[in-house]
């Protein structure tokens, strides 16, 4: 075995057992790793039929064959399970150093079922693992948890854990590793909490092999030549971080403001990457094997939000900022740090708070019911609300359920800006047509990274499309979705795709594993993974009716900006998308499509 280790850990927290097992070579080859491999195992376990917060829901931590090598930005792993927020498949991607360490311990993947009788953590080391009591650790914040677990295991152990939010089954809780990197979306932290699993510490002393050393060296060199010269990967991301997008997206009238009431935020520059670099950035920081160094260690020297941490990223700057009408960067930054410490997804938190703010604005949620006023732009509420959500205190107990359940509770589910109950990220579908299609069809609910057509529609990569037209967007959505599924399964960071594409990734996979991946077969694997996720969701009860957008985006014309007067033309894009996918009118893969991809119900 090369690239892959070929081994996994099977952990049963109810029985208190840990077993080392071999992975099926066909699964590895056909589903590549990380997101794809985890999804295959989740599907085979029938998790589409279990309650996401029940012990039977498998929680899978999965690396890719390139994770732990010096392939570009090869530090990634995925957390895969059935989501308690959406009920659909969840595969949340994270960077940092945790994933490679699992490879150095000799494992591709950890498969966890059951529920420990009392809180525990998992300690993974070369060739094995033990379940240890988490006495005195349960209840701690993320950084306290990491420090304590390291003190009990090894000073170089890498830790992935939940904060107070995951412990309390907050539906928008995440898993945080290396203190500031997160498997953020879909409430995977709540699944970990439901198992009484506080943390997974890993320390490995082994190496990762590749099949063809000279071929791997050459493939990496070709890829790095592009990454080190592309302006986004070698200039924009290291200098300004992902929040360099704030001004760009706002200029296109696509920066959702006050719960998607408009797409233009006049104060956008105050929460931009340029302003962050000038005001609070300490230095740039990289994940494992990454040359882009988009990590943002930050510090606020004085004032009510004095402190330090990492972030905010573009998505957090948007959700905690424009979506809530907040332009105070210090408040946005402090709220992001709190999200890291509590283990909450800042996208879903900010978007859920924004929903609550609109419910309050319209009088559907009163001061008495909320326990306080929920006014647009209230930075204090923004920051305090994170802890309240994590601990389910006051209004936090409502926010903890996500915006769909919150809005439904107060009789107005249409004010929840979600698809499949997951909150939209930082792009307005009425101003960028293609992203609306990918929001509607993403297998894990609303998501931008699953089919980042912004790349083409706004940034011109690989070519410039007109964001205001729905034409041809179905073609691009499928292309981005399939390629991204491949990248997410390889162990590389998605951001390399600003500079390199499927051919370079296929070359790296082929040289690493010795399996004869070509650009065609690698992209086919991506398409296979996409369809498998779709099959999972169909078995979980999702239908074509769920491939939709919030009513506002379909029927309320954009009030201002370059997209003024526009609505999403999902009605035009979706049928063509199904056709290109080889699905029937109900969005089910046809028998021909399944046969072509080697899939079976």
């Amino acid at each position: 075995m090369a690239g892959w280790t070929g081994r996994m850990l099977r952990v049963d927290l109810s029985a208190g057992t840990v077993r080392v097992e071999e992975l099926c070579p066909h699964d590895l080859r056909d589903f590549v790793g990380a997101r794809g491999l985890g999804s295959k195992l989740l599907y085979d376990a029938g998790a589409y039929a279990v309650d996401p917060l029940a012990p039977e829901n498998p929680l899978i931590f999965a690396t890719g064959p390139l994770t732990g090598t010096y392939a570009p930005s090869a530090g990634r792993y995925n957390v895969v399970c059935r989501s308690p927020l959406t009920g659909a498949i969840a595969a949340s991607n994270s960077g940092g150093y945790w994933g490679p360490e699992l490879k150095f311990a000799g494992f591709d993947l950890i498969f966890i079922t059951g529920k420990a009788p009392s809180p525990v953590y998992l300690w993974v080391h070369d060739g094995g693992a033990e379940i240890r009591p988490a006495d005195g650790i349960w209840g701690k914040t993320v950084s306290e948890t990491e420090d304590t677990v390291r003190a009990q295991t090894h000073p170089d152990a890498k830790v992935a854990c939940i904060g107070p939010a995951g412990e309390r089954l907050v539906r928008i809780a995440c898993v945080v590793n290396d203190k500031s990197r997160a498997a953020g979306r879909s409430g995977v932290g709540a699944v970990m909490g439901s198992k009484n699993l506080k943390a997974i510490a890993v320390r490995g002393t082994q190496g990762v092999r590749v099949a063809d050393r000279e071929g791997f060296r050459a493939a990496r060199q070709r890829a790095m030549q592009k990454i080190l010269t592309h302006p986004v990967t070698s200039g924009g991301l290291p200098t300004y971080g992902t929040a360099v997008l704030v001004n760009v997206i706002n200029a296109h009238g696509a920066f959702p403001t006050r719960n998607f009431q408009t797409g233009v935020f006049p104060e956008a520059d105050r929460i931009s990457g340029e302003t962050l670099a000038r005001e609070y950035l300490v230095r740039k920081k990289a994940c494992f094997a990454c040359s882009m160094a988009c990590g943002r260690p930050t510090a606020i020297p004085s004032g009510p939000f004095k402190g330090s941490g990492e972030g905010p990223e573009y998505e957090a700057a948007w959700a905690l900022g424009a979506d809530c009408g907040v332009w105070d960067l210090a408040a946005v930054t402090a709220a992001n740090w709190q999200c890291n410490e509590m283990g909450i997804d800042p996208i879903s938190y900010g978007a859920t708070l924004a929903c609550a703010m609109e419910l309050f604005q319209r009088g559907y949620l009163t001061r008495e019911q909320a326990g306080r006023e929920l006014r647009w732009g209230d930075g204090q509420l923004l920051v305090e609300g994170v802890r309240m959500t994590a601990y389910r205190e006051g209004i936090g107990n409502l926010l903890a359920e996500g915006s769909y359940r919150l809005a439904s509770e107060f009789g107005h589910p249409e004010l929840s800006m979600t698809t499949k109950k997951q909150e939209y990220p930082a792009y307005e579908p009425r101003a960028v047509q293609g992203i609306g299609l990918t929001y509607a069809t993403s297998n894990r609910g609303a998501c931008h990274v699953r089919g980042y057509t912004i790349s083409a529609e706004v940034l011109g990569v690989p070519e410039k499309l007109d964001p205001l037209v729905p034409d041809n967007k179905a073609f691009w959505a499928k292309a981005f979705q399939d390629a991204t599924a491949l990248v997410d399964s390889s162990g590389l960071c998605l951001f390399v795709t600003f500079a390199i594409g499927v051919p370079e990734i296929a070359d790296l996979l082929a040289a690493a594993t010795g399996e004869g991946y070509t650009a065609e077969s690698a992209l086919l694997a991506g398409e296979r993974i996409w369809n498998l996720e779709r099959m999972f969701n169909l078995k979980a009860g999702f239908t074509r009716a769920d491939d939709t957008l919030a009513p506002r985006l379909l029927s309320e014309p954009m009030p201002e900006g370059p997209a003024k007067g526009q609505v999403s033309r999902l009605d035009l894009m979706l049928p063509e998308y199904y056709r290109l996918r080889g699905w029937d009118e109900e969005g089910r893969p046809t028998d021909e499509t399944l046969a072509r991809l080697g899939l079976k119900w």
Binding site: G207, V208, R209, R283, K285, A286, C287, F288
Partner: protein, 161 residues
């Protein structure tokens, strides 16, 4: 002309650890940070990242401590290298080196250390930010003084004397 050595610029390091990976890929044929001849010390709370490399000391504790004469100086690169055929695996070198740069690589206790990749250090080649440099020490020090002087010059620009 003085021999080149590894010069570290910690302020440029981003903690990506590509240096550790390139080192072992070149020397051991796999990605194995524990066997790297250098390590990045990462201190997230202080926002400081410090690569620790072999300093190829002029008076080398590892060489002095070795009882079997297995550590010798390469006259071309100036690097201290391990003659594996003479190494008995006593690991006195590990105890002696104040930087901790001796590495155990083979069962039977054979040791290894940085040999500057025979004059083409891979850690330097792979670093995206120039945090590792292969330079003559006086030239490197002079460049650093020049940089400090330039920053001072900017401050002094508006000052009348």
């Amino acid at each position: 002309m003085a021999r080149k050595m590894l010069v570290v610029h910690p302020e440029k390091c981003t903690a990506c650890r590509l240096c550790e990976l390139a080192c072992t890929f070149h020397q051991e044929g796999e990605f194995h940070p524990l066997k790297a001849r250098l390590t990045v010390g990462i201190f997230p709370e202080e926002n400081v990242y410090v690569p620790i490399v072999c300093e190829q000391c002029e008076v080398a504790a590892c060489q002095e401590a070795c009882p079997s004469g297995a550590i010798w100086r390469n006259a071309v690169t100036g690097a201290l290298e391990v003659d594996v055929s003479r190494c008995v695996g006593c690991r006195m070198c590990v105890m002696a080196c104040p930087f901790g740069t001796m590495v155990h690589v083979e069962s039977g206790g054979k040791m290894q250390k940085c040999d500057l990749c025979q004059g083409d250090p891979q850690c330097v080649a792979v670093c995206p930010w120039g945090a590792l440099e292969y330079a003559e020490p006086n030239e490197a020090a002079l460049a650093r003084r020049r940089e400090v002087a330039r920053r001072l010059a900017e401050v002094l620009r508006g000052v009348k004397v």
